[in-house]
Assembly symmetry: C2
Homo-oligomer: 326 residues x 2
């Protein structure tokens, strides 16, 4: 069990770090950390941060540890950057199970190895019972940019791809929270994207990528349209959604396009390269699809074209959409 003393800056704190955390996350750089860690010279660095407060901590398809490492590394991958150096900060509630903590550390170690990234500096706080809900993790991450991708490169004519079926994370967390038992294997899409992204970047003409986390695909497309001053048209029928996810969305009263994903991303690519890009994406997920295109019309807005040919705006999501989803 985690005790308050384990956050005291003294003996118990040191033991938690050296005997528990280092056992799973240890490496030469972390062992040399003092108040910070020397990580040498970085040529084209990308820096990102994310705090994870998900509930429940363990869910079908992952846990907060996998989610935290994958989520932070995915932010780097979306910037065309190879994940390298991570910081890790735990806020742990007094009384938290040491066994669960170790299970989470193991997930983190596995995900780090998939990204070939290291945790090089860390922090551990323990707060009294009731001051947080179990465990929160912050990961900040530094990567090395290997491809020049940005929402700034969006322009009319680009094809919009999605790397897999949408809303699985949001739907799985909702089902887990509500204790909904489905006769199916509804699972979060939580996964590390650097492996597929690294391969995808060998295709010419990749202009921008974004993982569709909080706010879902709707948030990504609206941010893109607004930031680049372009319109984006999506063919609603082309967006892959599984039957189970559609069922959950109907219960929730949310569109699949606003629910969170944790391993599914949107790609903007030159139209002539779309087939090659899709081929790479489908090697990792057969549901990857071409779902729309960037256009001049309706600059700043996202237009959804239904299967019956009607059009409506897909707005930036608003309101309370599943708090503590990540």
């Amino acid at each position: 069990m985690i005790t308050l003393a384990m956050g005291n800056g003294g003996v118990e704190n040191r033991d938690l770090i050296e005997k528990v955390i280092f056992r799973h996350l240890g490496n030469d750089l972390l062992a040399q950390a003092e108040d910070g860690t020397a990580i040498g010279s970085l040529p084209k660095a990308i820096f990102t941060t994310d705090s994870f407060t998900i509930s429940p901590l363990f869910f079908p398809g992952g846990d907060i540890g996998k989610l935290a490492v994958a989520g932070a590394c995915n932010d780097l991958a979306m910037m065309g950057a190879r994940p390298k150096f991570l910081s890790c900060s735990f806020i742990i509630e007094e009384g938290f199970s040491l066994r669960d903590f170790q299970r989470i550390l193991r997930s983190m170690a596995k995900e780090l190895s998939l990204n070939q990234a290291q945790i090089v500096t860390g922090d551990t706080k323990v707060v009294p019972k009731g001051s947080c809900d179990g465990l929160y993790i912050n990961i900040s991450a530094i990567g090395e940019q290997v491809a020049d991708v940005s929402q700034g490169y969006l322009k009319p004519g680009l094809a919009i791809l999605i790397s897999g079926s949408v809303a699985k994370h949001g739907a799985a967390i909702f089902a887990a929270r509500e204790g909904i038992e489905l006769q199916s294997d509804l699972m979060s899409d939580c996964k590390s994207l650097w492996p597929v992204v690294e391969e995808l970047l060998s295709v010419e003409g990749i202009k921008a990528m974004r993982d569709a986390t909080r706010g879902g695909v709707a948030a990504v497309l609206n941010e893109w349209a607004r930031a680049a001053g372009v319109g984006i048209e999506i063919d609603e029928g082309a967006v892959p959604v599984t039957e189970e996810v559609r069922g959950i969305c109907e219960m929730l009263g949310f569109e699949p396009l606003v629910l969170a994903n944790e391993g599914t991303f949107v790609v903007a690519v030159e139209p002539e390269s779309a087939p090659a890009a899709l081929e790479v994406l489908r090697r990792y997920d057969p549901d990857a699809s071409l779902i729309g295109r960037v256009q001049e019309e309706y600059a700043g807005r996202v237009v959804l074209r239904s299967q019956w040919g009607t059009r409506r705006f897909l707005d930036m999501p608003s309101g309370e959409i599943l708090p503590r989803i990540c």
Copy 2:
């Protein structure tokens, strides 16, 4: 008031970030952030992270915002690194006062400017009432190392200095929590150390620095002794402690050497440079003092020599020492 919708990844989230947070912390790099921020080329980078869960959020001498920026930048300063790029991640409890949040943002902006550092990437989560206590902040920070200092350079003969009187932060937080009204101005020592450190580094022979946060001076010295395999002897009577702090320590039953500081640091320096180093330190705080020396005897241990000539070990602190002190 902060609402759950402000953490949704949608409209309200964007408004909180762009209309509130950017107003205080905005800069060109932050404005360009996508999933991460390009920070260019870093020659000798130091990376550090710290989460802040202090209670109360406002205390005599500072608040969680000042503490967070100063604390993270101080970790870089202690590594001989100039603070440069910071990430900032907020976990905010639903219902938190927007006015208090803005007051905290203003403190952060002020402290950033003292360090000439920028927040270049961020994250904002809102959790339901009861899932955290008000506000937690993580700051991860990247600095550029300008001096080669490390606990690895500790060796017998070095002088040990302290930059000011000890335990003010721990004592002030305890007094604030317990509602102890003192006829004095007991205040936290919370402050940014880069200005004094930058000047101090112009003195030859500075070997190691460490700010004495959680676990206090006792934790720093014990970590140093253990890591470098040296002994450290401290002259108890030479350690500056104010009368008010001593009074609080007696109430608490703790030694001033185990209580937290947030702007006071220990320096190991070649003995012939100690006077010059002290002169710099005293320009910032007249209480700066020479308090001991590194020795061969009792390797791995810290020895406290009392005013009556007796000696005892000063151990690594243990047990519950004021949780949520930082």
